[in-house]
Amino acid sequence: MLKHSLLLSALLTASAAQAEAPRLSGYIGAEATYFTSEGLYPGQLEDFQGSFVFAPELRWRSDDRDTQIRFSGFARWDSEDSNRTHWDVREAYIRRQMGDFSVLLGANKVFWGVTESRHLVDVINQLDLLEYTDDDARLGQPMLELSLSKNWGTVSAFFMTGFREQEFPGTGGRLRAPLVVDESAATYGHSSEEWAPDTALRYSNTFGSVDLGLSAFQGTSREPLLLPTAGGTALRPHYARIWQTGIDVQWTGDAALWKLEAIRRGSEEFETFEAAVGGIEYTVYQIGGSDGDLGLIAEYLYDGRGAGAPVTAFQDDVFLGARWTANDSNDTSLLAGGFYDLEDGSTSFRAEFERRLENGLLLKVTGQGFGHTDAANPLDALREDDFLSVSLEHHF
């Protein structure tokens, strides 16, 4: 604790130095989603869900550029689901660079990994599942990060507490299980609950055409196990203590990127298992004589988890996708892909289109659909939740 307060005062003294004015940026947005079928479960919204988003960002940097402070907030007001009306501090940290060494204190988002269809290695942040139109949405995680960057690579150590629970759609929301989740009934594998200490270590480096990351994590599982409550009227989340080791590696060729992520996860509450995602992204440049590029993505997903571990839909699946980037002045792009379950034949699809309409005004269209879903597959609960969502964001 003494060490921490020394560190903090060092950070604050450093930041008292002369500096440029803080920069404000961010976006406001409106989103309209149309569900093509009525919900399966009582109370679910029928077809239309509208919402507004406000996401401000504040950045500040000292004159010597070694100290920076960053804040980024996110808030959504939803017309149909009070649970989806939510806000979060995505980032609120102070960072100090001292040569090759850096210290970060506060809430931050940290991304690890290389694959497209699933992020296995990435364990620091809780997913923001309420943001079903944004796969990258994650909740800010309070942490102290110490990082050393040398020619032989970068080593980062993370000390975390203030665990972030997963947030779930409410009774009115779509893309949920038959029973709603009672977040207030959450239980933990550690007696300190969300204040239990979590630690993580990561090494990353580039060796020619190869980018490598090795990681280890010990702490509260970001994925909850969902169990029925005593009355059987709702689900309650349980967050076990886990350890996880992971590797992510990418080999970059001329037109092909080969990617692999693999983890081993253990806990006192379930049997240790392995999981992996690997595949290729092959890009055809200037397709058909145009300026646009077409990337073809094929990945295989394996997950060997057994009973007692949070369920997954990706035990033995294939993902096929395509990414088209127009390379135009509007930065137009389309990413589309689908999963096929090799064991039960369940299928799901998703497409994301993006284009800048004018300076600062961004159009996003997201569509998701489910084909055949096997009754035993977790995706079966979502089989009537096909949607098309259109959003406009004004960035400032």
Binding site: Q97, D136, D211, L257, D291, R356
Partner: protein, 272 residues
Amino acid sequence: MPLQPLLSKRSALALITGAALALSPLPLLAQDAAQKGYEIAARSDVSDNGFRDSAVDVTMELKNAAGQSSSRQLRILTLERASAKVGDKSISIFSTPADIDGTAVLSHAKLTANDDQWIYLPAAQRVKRISSSNKSGPFVGSEFAYEDITAQELGKFTYKWIGTETCPGGGKCEVVERVPAYKNSGYSKQVVWFSTKHWQAEKIEYYDRAGNHAKTMTATGIKKRGGFWRQAKLHMVNHRNGKSTSLSFANWRFATGLRDGDFRSNALESLD
């Protein structure tokens, strides 16, 4: 091997060859033209050296054939590397349009192999290694291809001197044809006008793989800035589609104290 003495010896040789040629009525031999072309390019290359690192603010103006325009603002950081065997390291950080604010592209230039390249996407806070083999593709929707904006290292081309002409902006220029030696280039050749005043390229004509004159770039406002010759503006016209892109450079800074560690992929997220 120290770079400087070698090049100055060659430059001296070039001057002698040049003087001899001026007196000789005989046609220029092919190998002499290649030699002279190389000397001129080498001279241009060293005229750039010694800045250690630089930072510059750039406004990119894109115009389509109908005259509609849009713009992007970025900052380019460059780290010079002393050896002629490796290329420079550079980072382009975009600040506008606002929806791409903070997006950054890091390149470790190679001579004839593909550059190592990473992109930082701020929304996902994700760094992605990308392939740079698509050299002829447009850079962020502009008329500049990736290969036009990456470091123009001496070893990336073979050269041939064509003649001496008046520069587009006046003054004397040596005209050199160069052919990319790296793979995946979109060009069969480029013709470069080097000003004899500062040895910077004032004009480049780009010929596509079929040999057609596809694009022309002109550099204007070349002045000594902080002790180094730098342009104020690069203007690229695409003759095939009628589009054009200009890059306006402002606020050149040199030896700003950028370190090798700033040009690592994991440093991209703390740049801005």
